[in-house]
């Protein structure tokens, strides 16, 4: 079975500062990894995904994430945040093609202060 741990429940950052949201996963098989963003009272929107290949993946809104197999991590980064990045961010994992479950972490609330 897979599980996901997001190490920070809340991350406050000043506008234009860099940010890293941490995600660690546990799995006995290879996995697909995802980051989603949720704005207030809305559904989730995909930011980026890692399937295979290059360990650095780029997503929408200037975000990127790096897959580290030895540390079983998939941390999300952005070099300079904006007020509009204030949202909740979820890391998720699923087995590759053929399986069904998509398991999410507890979420990290990113707050951008002016």
């Amino acid at each position: 079975a897979q599980s996901v741990t997001q190490l920070d429940s809340q991350v406050p950052v000043f506008e234009e500062a860099p940010v890293e949201l941490r995600c660690n996963y546990s799995s006995s098989v290879s996995v697909y990894l995802f980051w989603y963003v949720q704005y207030p009272n809305q559904g989730l929107q995909l930011l980026l995904k890692y399937l295979s290949g290059s360990t650095l993946v780029k997503g929408i809104n200037g975000f990127e994430a790096e897959f580290n197999k030895s540390q079983t991590s998939f941390h999300l980064r952005k070099p300079s945040v904006h007020i509009s990045d204030t949202a909740e961010y979820f890391c998720a994992v699923s087995p590759p093609e053929g399986a069904q479950k998509l398991v999410f972490g507890q979420g990290t609330r990113l707050t951008i202060n002016p």
């Binding site: 989730l44 929107q45 995904k49």
Partner: protein, 112 residues
Amino acid sequence: SQTIHQWPATLVQPVGSPLSLECTVEGTSNPNLYWYRQAAGRGLQLLFYSVGIGQISSEVPQNLSASRPQDRQFILSSKKLLLSDSGFYLCACRGRGYTEAFFGQGTRLTVV
């Protein structure tokens, strides 16, 4: 691309009343469908998932049930709501050939 329709957006129901939340999907066929619940500060909890018509897997024992009467229709139900059923319910779809899931806009349920 896939579009997920969820309704209603908000719902206030008394304790002991029944519940029916509907989710329909466009833009794909034979998808995997999911119901998640999001309670304050608790992330997303997978409640049910379905790989086909009439096929439902339950993740946690609870007061809720799910059904999939048609390929692109997924229904979440309860016969008698509890206060603890309050939360934000999200339907998600993972179409064949897609690696990621797409989400509906959610239903905020308040049981009073």
